[in-house]
């Protein structure tokens, strides 16, 4: 779990990992050292203030060189919200995230449909399973050119889609994966839906139990 200056949701993400039975290890943006972790989570937030373009600076952080290298070797990587933006800026995932079509920040309990349950982050779900997790962003509208969108859909690389379209994402895309399937970017926040007490239910926990199951199986 990487902390960039301006990361915000790393505490929640660590709690989610631990609730799922894993051990959360803090990684620092300035250290090109993954401390022997088995999977990497890039949390939400506003890395380096995101005054330029979301994730545009974070991709150059020393820690990202290691994340990119290990992702290429098949390590599971999940980027949530700002983490998704960083993965796109790092070219680990195609497309980009731009300002919401309604031009406002939005924080909602959002219904999402899992479209691909073969990634290490989604295998605890059924295909077409509808879950409710939290969507909160100002720049969450997923865009890519038509060919890329066709390819993503054709290859089953759309991981999740929104029910409705809360931010103007093309083809209602909420999350995508890379060709190998180990890197997943997701705009909504499963880590905010892991306890009945502090969020809209526990539908998000599956992302974390999925990866722990995948790691145990390998």
């Amino acid at each position: 779990m990487v902390t960039f200056p301006g990361s915000l949701d790393e505490v929640d993400a660590a709690r989610a990992i631990e609730l799922a039975g894993g051990e959360a290890v803090g990684l620092w943006h300035g250290d090109a050292d993954l401390k022997g972790v088995d999977a990497v989570l890039l949390p939400g937030g506003f890395s380096y203030g995101d005054y330029l373009r979301c994730g545009a600076i974070a991709r150059f952080a020393p820690v990202m060189s290691q994340v990119i290298a290990r992702a290429g070797e098949g390590m599971p990587v999940l980027g949530i919200c700002n983490g998704f933006q960083i993965l796109c800026e790092s070219h680990l995932l195609p497309g980009a995230l731009i300002r919401n079509d309604h031009r406002k920040f939005g924080c909602l309990d959002q219904r999402v449909v899992i479209r691909n349950n073969t990634t290490p982050w989604t295998n605890a779900y059924e295909v077409d399973q509808e879950i409710t997790i939290v969507l909160k962003n100002g720049e969450g509208s997923y865009v890519a050119d038509e060919d890329t969108l066709d390819r993503l859909e054709g290859e089953g690389r759309v991981v999740a889609t929104y029910v409705g379209n809360p931010n103007g994402s093309l083809r209602q895309i909420a999350g995508v994966t890379n060709e190998r399937g180990n890197v997943v970017g997701l705009m909504p926040h499963p880590e905010h839906a892991v306890e009945d007490l502090c969020g809209p239910g526990t539908d998000g926990l599956g992302f974390f139990t999925s990866v722990l199951g995948s790691l145990a199986a390998s």
Binding site: D9, V11, Y51, F105, G106, C107, H192, C198
Partner: protein
Amino acid sequence: MCSLSECLVADRDRFEAGAPGSLDSGSVSLDTVAAAALDPDRAQPWAELGLKEDEYDRIREILGRRPTASELAMYSVMWSEHCSYKSSKVHLKQFSEIPQETVAGKMLAGIGENAGVIDIGQGYAVTFKVESHNHPSYVEPYQGAATGVGGIVRDILAMGARPVAVMDPLRFGPLDAEDTHRVLPGIVAGVGGYGNCLGLPNIGGEAVFDETYLGNPLVNALCVGVLRHEDLHLAKASGVGNKVILYGARTGGDGIGGVSILASETFDEEGPAKRPSVQVGDPFMEKLLIECTLELFRAELISGIQDLGGAGLSCATSELASAGDGGMSVELDTVPLRDQTLSPEEILMSESQERMMAVVEPDDVAAFLEICQKWDVEAVVIGEVTDSGRLSITWHGEEVVNVPPRSVAHDGPTYHRPYARPDWQDALQADGAEKLARPTSGAELRETLLRLVASPNLCDRSWVTDQYDRYVQGNTVLAQPSDAGMIRVDDQTNLGVAVSTDCNGRFAKLDPYTGAQLALAESYRNVSASGATPLAISDCLNFGSPEDPAVMWQFAQACNGLKDACLELGIPVTGGNVSLYNQTGDTAILPTPVVAVLGVIEDVTKRTPTGFQAEGEQVYLLGETRAEFSGGEWAHVVHGHLGGLPPKLDLAAEKALSQLLIAAAGTISSAHDLSDGGLAQALAESCLRNDIGVEVALSGDAFEQLFSESASRCLVSVTPEAESKLLELAAAHGVPVAKLGRTHGGALAVASYFEVPLAELRSAWAGTLPQALG
């Protein structure tokens, strides 16, 4: 801490309206202490800086000479209304007569610190405060609101606490007014933009519309912080030889406002302002400052700390020095600048955001600077603590300030402003809403309900609150639209706190004493409804001009009301803020004493949610309903009427209801306090929360039952199994209880009067803000 830019912006109107043309706008050579002695009769622009002649004379008397330009600037801002509370402090001091303890124990820090600190048990303490940023938010809505959040967060941080939640009570002009469409979206985006970027959940607040706020919106900002008892840090500079470190953002020219006339060589009355008088926020810097400061606390490297808010370095140096050993020397040249052309006066006055000042033992300085570097936060030693009893500031080796720090920070003038009950008050109170034409038939009552739920003050707030992150940190147990926001403090023990802010300014206009008490009572009730025990209040007292005796009377009455209610309810005031001069021309805003109540709950899993939870719950009304409509939403929306007397408040009944609600947490399924819009609104919101209908039967006058705004009432639902327990508890606490019906079906149904399908209800309630604001 004050928000200086509040008064600068307010004062600016006076500059523009009729500033005298005799400003000393000639070339400005460095004005030093030595020069002041040699040139004792130089004309100084004290009046343009907002000082009165006797105040200027008093400064000369304190110093035994004329002040230097830098000293004059410091005194003028620190003795301003917003920093010195000169009009309000004679009325505020009564709050310190309230016993400084809560049901959970003695207060760990009280009024006078940046924010009061309350023991909540298990070794934890909380600190919270609500503050205004009204005038800047009118001039520049986004930055004004954003920096309002930033300022209150630094106040909380300076106590050694980790900020855990924010909340924003907002007031706007009419929803359909053109300027509201300029002001509101900017303010909401500013609150969200700053708070979201800090990773602080926004868990509630208010959005209220009234025409008196059209030219003067209110942006109040609240922050709650949590700390361990041993981590409490107070603002003082002790230990001769200790170093004074300024860290955070660089100092720039923002927020200087009217003060820049002192330094500007090219000042031109006709020309544009030299620099923006509203500060610009950088929430990313603030996030780094929070994490950096918390790490410095953990490493025990801080002896004293103060945030830089209103009046910038003037305030921080004089307040830290006067609270400690009484002396401090500062080399102003060492202050990192964004703009190298700033004069010493401007550096002292700058309200650049995201800055903190710490007092550090010499041996700890290296470790301090290292942690700052880790977080990419610039930090510089700018001076040290002395035992001289003077605050001495040098610029290029020459002394530009040499003052007793206490005289700047605490010895400002005290005004006993005249106050008088306005001559229109009797006529206003005689014009009650109880005589207005009422709906009687089922169809009329139905139409009234739909009209009210769609009205700006009662409709769905999610257009506003969806722009705030309410989930970050993963500890949000309750957030808007719940009665109170609730945050888990410890995820092992489930200890938590709840907080609510409220004020109905119309009630306060009708009777400021009772109106302030009603604001407190509603907030107190909201916290109790969530299952938490109210511990303390913080208030933000927004009023018109103190130079108007009618406004001063409202202010004095509101303070008296709050104090008396606190004494009766047994809860202290931990601090707060006063914002005066909230008016457009001669028209003051509704008196708006916003009251925040903070409560503790030992186990957040036992909290009571707002809104019906399931079919088949039994629905009860707690408390007594009287025919009270004056100042209420029905009179406001349907008749555009304001007059009469606000609802009666029986504090003993309020306390009994509170204790019942706390005892019933875990027994009842939901609770929703009755306030604006009365029972009708509470039923509608309780149904819409989870789309669960209700069937109720009313005894007596249906209109009175549905739309009265009598205080000290709460709507609760309970499973059939727990029904007898609720009744026992109500009897034990002496709270009147009446069964209304049960949750059932897909409509809000009032037997023998009307039925509204929930889809129709939702469409009326949810459509208003999106339709108006896009």
